[in-house]
């Protein structure tokens, strides 16, 4: 299997993003082991230092922990922390411009909630 690396970001960063995606999608859960640096390097034919650098990013972000002699593991609450971060990002960066658009277009808040309700309730159901 060959992942499609793009050239716009360093590979270690893309590796980090991929693990984050897997955590958010629930493929990697709290306490799960990450594959060893060696096996990822061999499978994707990457320099082991590249893989290590990607893993180190995750450690620095508090999403993954190193257990001496046993490898890397997803921290308890990693997904929660990621979601909190994503929510904060949305509220701080995207939401203000959404609000500005609502105001500019003169939309009614109650109408908007009514429109979005069926879909929101559906995804809430998925999450549980």
């Amino acid at each position: 299997m060959d992942p499609n690396w793009n050239d716009s970001q360093p590979i270690y960063r893309q590796l980090r993003d991929r693990v984050v995606e897997m955590i958010l999608e629930g493929i990697l859960g709290d306490g799960d082991a990450l594959p060893s640096v060696r096996s990822v390097a061999a499978e994707y034919r990457l320099n082991p230092l590249t893989v290590l650098k990607g893993y180190q990013e995750l450690v620095d972000e508090g999403l993954v922990e190193k257990r001496r002699g046993r490898g890397m593991f997803i921290m308890e609450g990693a997904k929660k922390a990621l979601l909190a971060g994503e929510r904060e990002l949305f509220l701080n960066e995207q939401w203000p411009s959404v609000v500005a658009t609502i105001r500019r277009l003169g939309l009614n808040l109650d109408d908007l909630v009514e429109i979005a309700r069926p879909e929101l309730e559906e995804t809430e159901g998925d999450e549980r």
């Binding site: 050239d7 716009s8 390097a41 061999a42 499978e43 990457l46 320099n47």
Partner: protein, 285 residues
């Protein structure tokens, strides 16, 4: 940081042709170094010098020893493969193991047998009866069972199909390489190994054109995809090269000003093959 190879002013001439011209470089432990150059650039001459297989001028230390006088001691810690698909056809697999067992003091026979037991290569087969891919596996088994500090690979995957080439590097990373080992590799198929490398050395007509770690290449070189109306502005900034791709102009810059370049278009780190072509052209210009 342990230095395994240290060359300074390394030169070698064949008649009037300078195969190596004042080449200076170092190779450190735990690195995977790609020696990249066109045919006749001096790659093999450089490897031969490191292995003590040719005379040369200048200074060269391998594992702290002089390859001209202490080749025997160097070869206890160095392993060399040119073209993994070739071994004597008349030899049986078992005999090949016997041979290396007797020749190399650091050969661990059980490791080679263990590796081969996971392949379709049989101990009593003649090498002439094996497929090219199987010969590669045998070759790898022999090499990986040697406790060497430096592995020198000269066009190791020449003539192998893509699957076996991938398998070769996969095995090398999985079963062989670690931070105590060092690999020096030459190849034409740069794209295939560029993500494995920690360092690249470009060589052209005997001279080193570039000697950088992959990290510093990402810092130093930028490729920018520029819309046609910004092309002239890009040319003003003195790019290393210019190419057209899907209606866009792709410029390669060395030590460019990131602010200015961001203005021109989308930036990314160039591939080693593109960088190589640009550097060689720059020299010819």
């Amino acid at each position: 940081m342990t230095t395994l190879v240290k060359a300074s002013g390394l030169s070698k001439s064949y008649g009037t042709v300078k195969a190596l011209d004042q080449a200076s470089f170092e190779i450190h432990q735990g690195r995977i170094v790609g020696l990249i150059g066109p045919n006749g650039a001096g790659k093999t001459t450089a490897l031969k010098a490191v292995l003590g297989l040719t005379s040369f001028e200048g200074k060269l230390e391998v594992l702290g020893l002089d390859p001209r006088r202490e080749r025997h001691r160097i070869m206890q810690d160095v392993c060399f493969i040119a073209d993994v698909a070739v071994l004597p056809k008349w030899l049986r697999v078992r005999k090949a193991l016997d041979l290396v067992d007797r020749l190399h003091p650091r050969f661990e026979r059980s490791r080679a047998e263990d590796f081969l037991s996971r392949t379709t290569v049989r101990m009593d087969s003649k090498i002439g009866q094996l497929s090219k891919g199987m010969v590669t596996q045998l070759h790898l088994a022999l090499v990986m069972a040697i406790e060497a500090r430096l592995l020198v690979l000269d066009e190791p995957t020449l003539g192998l199909d893509i699957l076996f080439r991938k398998e070769f590097y996969k095995t090398l990373l999985n079963d062989y390489f670690d931070e105590n080992r060092t690999i020096l590799v030459t190849t034409h198929q740069v794209e295939e190994i560029e993500n494995i490398l920690t360092d690249v050395i470009f060589i052209d007509r005997g001279r080193l054109v570039l000697d950088e770690s992959m990290d510093s290449i990402a810092d130093r070189f930028v490729e920018v995809s520029v819309k046609p109306d910004r092309a002239e502005a890009a040319r003003q900034l003195g790019p290393l090269s210019e190419q057209e791709m899907f209606g866009r102009r792709v410029f390669l810059f060395e030590n460019g000003n990131a602010e200015q370049l961001r203005d021109l278009g989308e930036m990314r780190t160039p591939g080693i093959a593109d960088l190589f072509v640009a550097k060689i052209k720059e020299r010819s210009a």
